[in-house]
Every structure is written in C-alpha cells, then in structure tokens.
Symmetry: C2
Subunit: 432 residues, 2 copies
C-alpha cells in the first residue's frame, strides 16, 4: 500500500474489545491509525450465546467497525487478515499485501480449543463468531425437528439429549437457555415429540461451575440451573465425542447435539512474535503489555498473558481486554511524546456477571455477592449499557421484553444451504 503520509502509523490487528478500545483512544490527528480485522464487524461476544439460542438477531449484537469509527478521521478500517509479522522490518504481512507500522497493537484474541482432540470440532461446535452461533442455532433447532420425525423412542430421545461441555459462563448460559427453550418456548408447537422430555446435561471436569466466582455463587448457579431442569455433572471429564453421543469418563451417553464451551487457545499469530508463550498459546508480555525487546509492539486482550505484581493473572474477559487496549494506546501516545517510562498495566476488576435464565443470574463485585432476580437485573442493565449503538440497545430490550412475556424467541430461523435433512443415521446431516 503506497502512502505519502508522514504521521506516525499505528497498526491495530483485531477489532474486538481490545483493538477497538485502542483505536478509539488514539483519536488524534497527529497520528494515523489502521485497524485491520478479517470480519467487517465488532462483535459483542457476551451476548453471542443469545444469537446461538435464537433469542437475538445477529445484527443486534454486531456493528460494522467502519461505522463505529466513521467520525474518527485519523482511523482507516481494512477488512483483511494478518498472516505474519516481521518485527525487524516493522511490517505485517496481510493476505492482500504488506503494511508497515511504527507501532503495532496485536489484539487477535482466542478461539475455542479441543485440548488435542481437534476431531471433536465437527461434532461439538464452539462459540466464538456469529457463524459459530448460526451453526449452534441450526443444530439445536434441527434436533427438535428430527425428534418430531423419529418413531423409535430411543433414537428420538437421542435427538432430545443435549450435552454442554464446560461449566464457565458460556456453558452455564447455553445450558440454562436450552432448558428454557425446551420447557417453555417449544412445548405447544410439537405434536409427537414432547420437547419437555429434553435432557440438558452440563459437564464440567473441575469441581464446580463458574470457577471465576466465589464458592457460594457457584453453588447458587448450580441450584438455579437444576431448578430449570439442567443436569449438572461436575468432576466429570468428557473422554470421547462423536455424532452419536459422548463418553462421560467411562459412561456412554447418547446425544445428537453436543456443544463445546470448555477451552480456548490464543490466536496463532502469537507464534510469530518471537516471545514466550504460556500453555494456552498466549504471549507473555512485559508489565506494560509490550513485547520483550520490542517496546513498539503491544499485545492486548485474550492473546496476552500477564501475571500482575500481586501475583494475579489478568483474566480473559471483555473488561480486561478493553482496559489493556486503552493502556497500550496510552503507552504509544507517551512514547510519541518522547517519554521513556514503562508504566505497568493494572487490571481493575469491575465485577463478574453470569446469567442462568429468566430472572436468574450470579454477580460478584469484590466482596458483594448477588444471585437470583437482583443479579439478573444487574446483568441486564450492564449488558444493555455496554452494547454499542442506541438502536441495538432499544431492539435488544424490546426483544427481551417480548421473550419474557411470551416465552417466544424471535430468531428461531434455520438457515445455511448445507442443512441436510436426509439420512438420519449420519450425525452431520443435522447441520452440515
């Protein structure tokens, strides 16, 4: 890309919470900013499970990066994908050509990982992108359709068994919502297979759900899920997954729908950065988020691995990514002013929230712990507040009010040209 602009050029890779926060913080006509993402949109991932479970439309939780930054005249958005980073020459190799930088912010995040079992991916989709959400929506809705068509009781039940692997926030949210759909949204609509016979099993290898929360809230979350009809199996490892079901330790369970919410691994771009990686493939950064020996390169968000001075690791959550993006931007502005200090990043914990179902959630703000209805209201207000764009906030509120009163979910649409409803013996038929 040719350019005659002499301003310092800051390239940001990734338009998630970290990259977007950095771009916004660099709104200054004395520098130019290029934000690069292989998707055209910023995604509000905390509500992605609602797209997967047909409660929200995709455009309600996503906004074009160009539109978000349209008033920031020093910022250019490019839809492209970084393939390699040449630190010595300060150049990023994109799919469509190279781009040079003076400062670089790498914020390409993480994806789901199967702990060495990549062959599970086809039978147990994870949830990171809108396309992942469409895949899960298609499989879940198609499973109920297949149950309705099935005369054999055992085979029918296999279509009504849902296994969610992983007891973190995403797993809890998916399991709780699936149970609600089966018990409240669908029953009156099927004539042969009763959706209330659906089994939703939430499997967690560790000793408790929501390990990021206090013990007491883990226990509350479990009770709230069980009240919704979810079977919670903690201390249980999934040892095999295929199209017909799972092995829970040694115990087989028939289930045609398995959802993966267990593990993440960092973007592979981290491996090109000439720095140490932790076990999840995240880049070990300096306390100021820069790369060792490369003070002009910062890594933020889920791709960064940092243990703070107090011994606590920075968690892989949206608020941490935002704070890191802003910190990297502040550091770049200081470097451009000629300052030499390396102010360390400090994560400010504004609290944690996880929702379970209608009027059920858990929340933790330092020593304050909430559960049930009150936590649910806090969750709702916080999520609507942080959604980008007035229109999205209004429509999401409307959709939620509608869903609350009617028990309906408005996005129950199966799409995808590859939906095959043919051979019932092959698991991939359910979703392609």
């Amino acid at each position: 890309m040719s350019d005659t602009d002499n301003r310092p050029h800051i390239v940001i890779l990734g338009g998630g919470f970290g990259g977007l926060a950095a771009a916004r913080e660099l709104d200054d006509p004395s520098m130019r900013v290029t934000l690069i993402d292989r998707r055209n949109h910023h995604l509000f991932q905390p509500l992605l499970y609602q797209v997967a479970t047909a409660g929200l439309s995709a455009p309600s939780i996503a906004a074009p990066l160009r539109q978000i930054l349209r008033k920031q005249a020093n910022a250019t958005v490019l839809m492209d994908e970084a393939m390699d980073i040449d630190l010595a020459h300060r150049r990023v190799q994109l799919r469509q050509g190279p781009i040079d930088y003076d400062y670089l912010v790498v914020a390409t995040g993480a994806t789901h990982a199967y702990f060495g079992h990549d062959d599970w991916a086809a039978d147990a989709p994870g949830l990171k992108t809108l396309d992942d959400a469409f895949t899960i929506r298609r499989r879940v809705l198609t499973a109920f359709e297949r149950a309705e068509r099935e005369d054999d009781p055992a085979k029918r039940q296999a279509w009504l068994n849902f296994v969610v692997v992983g007891g973190g926030a995403t797993g809890v949210e998916l399991a709780g919502t699936l149970a609600e759909i089966a018990r409240h949204t669908l029953p009156r609509e099927f004539r042969r297979a009763d959706p209330r016979r659906a089994n939703v099993v939430l499997v967690e290898a560790g000793p408790r759900l929501l390990p990021a929360f206090a013990d007491a809230l883990s226990a509350k979350a479990r009770r709230q899920l069980e009240k919704l009809g979810v079977q919670v199996r903690t201390g249980t490892a999934v040892t095999a997954i295929d199209g017909g079901g799972v092995l829970l330790g040694e115990e087989p369970m028939q289930a045609r729908t398995v959802l993966w919410a267990a593990g993440v691994s960092a973007s592979s771009l981290g491996r090109t950065l000439d720095a140490g990686l932790d076990r999840a493939g995240r880049v070990r950064v300096e306390p100021d988020l820069s790369l060792p020996a490369h003070p002009e390169v910062f890594v933020v968000g889920d791709l960064a691995s940092l243990v703070q001075a107090d011994g606590k690791p920075v968690p892989g959550v949206a608020p941490a990514a935002k704070q890191m993006g802003r910190h990297a931007a502040t550091r770049i502005r200081a470097l451009l002013r000629g300052e030499t200090g390396k102010a360390p990043f400090r994560y400010r914990d504004d609290g944690s929230l996880a929702t379970i179902g209608r009027m059920a959630a858990v929340a933790q703000f330092g020593k304050l712990k909430l559960s049930g209805v009150l936590a649910w209201w806090v969750w709702l207000i916080a999520h609507v507040y942080f959604l980008i764009g007035f229109r999205n906030r209004l429509v999401v509120l409307l959709d939620w009010a509608w869903a609350y009163w009617t028990y309906q979910r408005h996005a129950r649409i199966v799409t995808g040209e590859d939906v095959k409803i043919g051979n019932p013996t092959l698991p991939e038929d359910a979703s392609g």
Copy 2:
C-alpha cells in the same frame, strides 16, 4: 410414519404464502393437516431485498411455521422435503420416508432461473431464500471493502460497478437500495475509495421497467431511479456473465458484482404431477386449481399456471398465492362435505406496489395510479400490515424509522465461514 388417526388427512407441500393460507383455512378438528417444508420458517418474500441490502435482520421477516400454527391443534408441521409424488397410491415420498394423503395441496413455488445459462448462477446470485439474501449482502458489502483495498483505479471501479439484471419489482428495489447505500449510507466511512463513485446499472431486456404496471408508472419508476443515480438500460439483453463483468449485447462492462432478478422457474416437483407444464415449468391446472383427472390434488401459488375465463393469467405474486391457497382449502372442505361442483378460482387484484427508495414508490389499484411519497406510504403500511407477528411489525417499523433518520442500515454484517479475502484476481474470493 405410522398413524391410527381416521380423520381425512390433508398434506400440504410448502409453507409459503399459498401453503400457509391453505393450512390456516383448514383449521377444523374433523380433519388433520400436515404441512411440510424443507425450511423451518415462513418467509415474507416481499421484504427479502431489504435483508439482502442489510436494512433488516433475517428474523424480522421470517417466522417458524410451527410457531405460526401452534394453536391450530389439527395441524402438524414437518421439516422435510418432498422428492416425488405417487398420485395412484396417494403417497408423497419425502427425504425421510413416505407420507400418505387423502387430499394434497402442492405449493412448492418457484426458484430463480437463468434461461439455460446455469453457469451464471455462481457469478450472478438470485434472491429467493434467506441464504440467497445473505449471499447478496456478503457480496455487496465485500465489494466496497475490496474497492477500499485496491490501488489500481480501473480495478477499483470494477468493484464499485453493480449490475442488476431484470427490471421487475425485485430488480427495481435492489437497484434503488444499492444506489442509496452508495450515496448515503457509506460515504463517510471509507478513506480511499469513495462509495459515491459506485455505478448501479439496472438492465432489462424488455422495453420498460415494471411490466406489470401501467406505462405511466413504469416511466415514473424510471425517473425516480435515475434521480437516485441508477443507470437504467431497457431493451438491453445480458448475453454473458462472468466474475469480471457482463456483456450488454455486444458491449462489455467491468463489474465484480452482478445480481440476478430476471427469471423464475417453477419447482421441479411439478414434473412429477402427470400434467401439462407451461414454458416456465408451471403446472397447468383446472379452473378450480385441481389436477386434471385428480380432483383430490391441488396446485397453488407460483407453481400453478392458470388462465382465467377472462383470458388473463393469474400473476405470480403473494396475494394470488394466498387466494389460491384459500381456494384449494375451501374446495377440499366442500369435497369432504360431499359436494360435487368444481367452483373455479378467481383472482381478485387488490393492487400492485413496488418501492424504489426513500419516499419513492409506485402503486396501482385498478385505475388509480400513485407514485412518489404517497405511494411509498401506502407501500410501507401495506407491508407492515401483512408481516406476521406483532413483534416483527414493531421492530421493522423501528428499523425503518432509524434508517430514515440516520441513513444507517443496521444489518451490515458480513457472515459466512467461506468469506475469502485473499486472491483479488479470482471473482469467487469476494464471497466464496
């Protein structure tokens, strides 16, 4: 499928306007109704172009068939696809097994057709399903992204040239909306390629746009489109299409995005019905919509070909499909009561509407002809009124008000795992 129910069984193939109208008209506990569609949803096709052009979310114009019919206790919905019809044994072969009927309503509609040029399909997507709309949305939005990345002026312009083939309602709506997006929605958001340089060319082989409307309205529609910046080329045949552009007669035009709104052909299921077909593959039905020699089988909607007593063919539009569906249902009820007459179907023309852009439309109600702002308001009220579901009506109104005031389009989200942003020389990269 085993069944011990002795009530007469009416099977309806297709959950579009015709099939759904028939099912609703057969809400009677003395009979049982099975509605079969290979999708899980009814689609409000008149607004599909707005999903394709990122103005509406898919769930705003689609509703699960099960949900629509949930209170009609005699109706069962199955997600499956009819492969063959055995008229002699009154049996439909579905992908997942056979189903027997006493009465059959075939309402599987039409799809777009390339007049013997099926190889054009990959480079000129048509618009019939939600997946088609996502494909068009992805291609259009990606084209502007590619233009922004392109340094060569001629190649950049090729990404900014859009050809819409076919001057019926869909073609007019797509072309008008594309011109608005280029001129009003996107300009402030791109830094290098000015979206206002986009050329939208609407090509029609016949002498005028909107042939279903009066001459004066065709001329008005053309003027309104030209005011929006659309180049209208009537009397011009497209003779070739590939990834690089089109041939208009002998004249080549570079364009990386070509949309097909020119032709439809009836569902291939018509060929299994042992009846005459017209040139578009539609089934020639008796005046009462039944099959010759099979008074228990009715064909309705876009799959039916019928010239009425006054010599006018029934048009392939949503109101005609609905009226036909209701007529077939009424005939079945009469047959079940033992009546022998064969009341003919009569199409009641409630008027025609086509929208062109902001505050621009044409409308024709018998001798009353409207254009401009007034026609646009009539169009808006009619389309919201006929949308299924209170929630959808409210959200669509909200989205339209939002788009009107801000010029924004909220569904500008590129999805599809197969989006390739790699090799700029291959046309299929733009959309996969």
